[in-house]
């Protein structure tokens, strides 16, 4: 059913009786042209663009749990393209452009809200660094605004500008950045893919990728063997577990990142604000809850829950810029598993095994990448060529030295 204001009004008069389930629950077929392992945002987007842009409809997404159970439903929903490395900016900007038209394209309300992303700076040298980042963005045609203290005050007057240790000197603003409703993104892509004939197989776990004579032949799943000519691994935090069944060893470690949401309060924070003297980001959802997070817990983990030091660190950082929220109650907090790459940037590439493709290394930043990640992996799987905006996101960059290290912290994934 096409969603529109008319369908909503007409259903209001029909007792809301005609709404249909948004996707099917099909039985797996014995064989598909392509299989996508992982029904998170990226896997569903890959299937959607394979169907929409490349005409592949005999394909399936296999998801071991329910749709949106992974990080796509656990993130802090920040969308932006304020990167500084040449390999990253065109990719993330492509993604932001897709976001800008996504709801019309999917005919689904993803609540994309371009409310601005403001990175605060707290010292002169940090201002210079942010100016450099803004310049790098502008050289790629992406607008950035370096705001001084008074301009920041106009946007977010409630911050602790005169904090003794971390006074706020200004900020780098990307007005086109913002937030989106994370689950709706998964559901929208799922609906779009399903309506084009893609089978979405929930509660179907990929157990073993079958490779014969250097060529992928299919995937052993919890519901039997499924034959496929091409397979894409899009399993985010669990990437290495499934990749190792095909003999792949990857520059990835999995860590847990926590997120937090407070009780709902009246509208307070108009944009996304990040703290520059640590690693903390906060925004306010449309329901009124403050949504925030900080760094990951510093040890490898597959348990999608964190520990208390991470909680304490996050709250301390919140207090450093926004003491005004010290008595707001925390409603919930949770964790998600992150596929941290050795340089902090993602990988969308072939694997050396014919017909096997990989999409991983999303670190903290994969939600914003969702549309472009699916777009570029679909392009790669359909044409065997990297999409022009993803040519730097190669697996062999660690061998050739072309790493894309935004943070400059080296091969220590928990520091990116």
């Amino acid at each position: 059913m096409h969603y529109s204001v008319f369908s909503i009004i007409s259903q209001a008069f029909k007792g809301q009786k005609d709404w249909k389930p948004v996707w099917r629950y099909p039985e797996p077929k014995a064989e598909y042209d392509m299989l996508i392992i992982g029904g998170g945002g990226h896997g569903l987007a890959t299937a959607y663009y394979l169907a929409k842009n490349h005409g592949y409809t005999n394909i399936a997404v296999i998801e071991k749990n329910y749709l949106g159970s992974g990080s796509v439903g656990r993130n802090t929903t920040i969308v932006r393209s304020n990167y500084q490395e040449p390999g990253n900016i065109p990719f993330y900007e492509h993604s932001l452009k897709l976001w800008e038209g996504l709801e019309q394209d999917l005919n689904y309300n993803a609540m994309m809200s371009q409310r601005g992303v403001l990175n605060l700076y707290h010292s002169d040298s940090q201002r210079d660094d942010y100016a450099r980042r803004g310049n790098a963005m502008m050289m790629h045609g992406v607008r950035a605004d370096l705001l001084n203290r008074e301009q920041v005050r106009e946007v977010v007057p409630f911050l602790d500008f005169d904090n003794a240790r971390f006074p706020i000197h200004g900020g780098l603003m990307q007005w086109r950045g913002g937030t989106a409703r994370h689950d709706a993104v998964a559901w929208g892509f799922a609906r779009g893919a399903d309506s084009r004939g893609v089978d979405i197989l929930q509660n179907t776990e990929a157990k073993q990728i079958r490779v014969e004579n250097g060529r992928v032949t299919g995937v052993e799943t919890s519901r039997g063997f499924i034959k496929a000519k091409k397979v894409g691994i899009v399993a985010a935090g669990n990437t290495t577990r499934i990749a190792e069944t095909a003999g792949l060893r990857l520059p990835i470690e999995s860590y847990v990142l926590q997120a937090f949401v407070s009780e709902a309060i009246k509208p307070l924070i108009p944009c996304v604000v990040t703290f520059g003297a640590g690693h903390f980001y906060i925004s306010q959802s449309d329901k009124g809850g403050l949504v925030f997070g900080a760094s990951l817990d510093y040890y490898t983990s597959y348990a999608a829950r964190g520990n208390l030091p991470g909680v304490e660190d996050t709250i301390e950082e919140a207090m450093a810029i926004m003491p005004s929220i010290s008595r707001v109650k925390l409603l919930r907090h949770w964790g998600g598993i992150m596929d941290m790459s050795m340089d902090g940037s993602p990988i969308i590439d072939k694997t050396g095994i014919d017909g096997l493709y990989i999409n991983c290394g999303w670190c903290y930043g994969g939600f914003k990448a969702t549309p472009a990640s699916g777009y570029c992996l679909a392009h790669l799987m359909a044409t065997d060529e990297s999409h022009p905006v993803a040519t730097a996101l190669k697996l062999n960059r660690f061998e050739t030295g072309h790493v894309i290290d935004e943070a400059g912290t080296g091969a220590q994934p928990n520091l990116h």
Partner: protein, 92 residues
Amino acid sequence: MRIPCPFCGPRDSQEFSFLGQTGLKRPDPNAPDAQKQFHDYVHIRDNKAGLTKELWLHANGCRSWIVVERNTLTHEITGSEFASPLTKEAAQ
């Protein structure tokens, strides 16, 4: 998470800093495939789901490097020992 330091006893994990998996050996730079070996040494990790052995530094404690046996699926810690036999000897 509480980590049992062989010298200090059980301590809050916040006192430690995490390095990662044990058993990585610096390759011989003169080996014919040194470039590949160094790539693996610097970038490739097991990223095991389940029991792992990993290096932690008791940075805000006795400052020893210790090997912790931990389950990455549950965060359960089942053992620890000094990373260096010399430290082990000195602590006895």
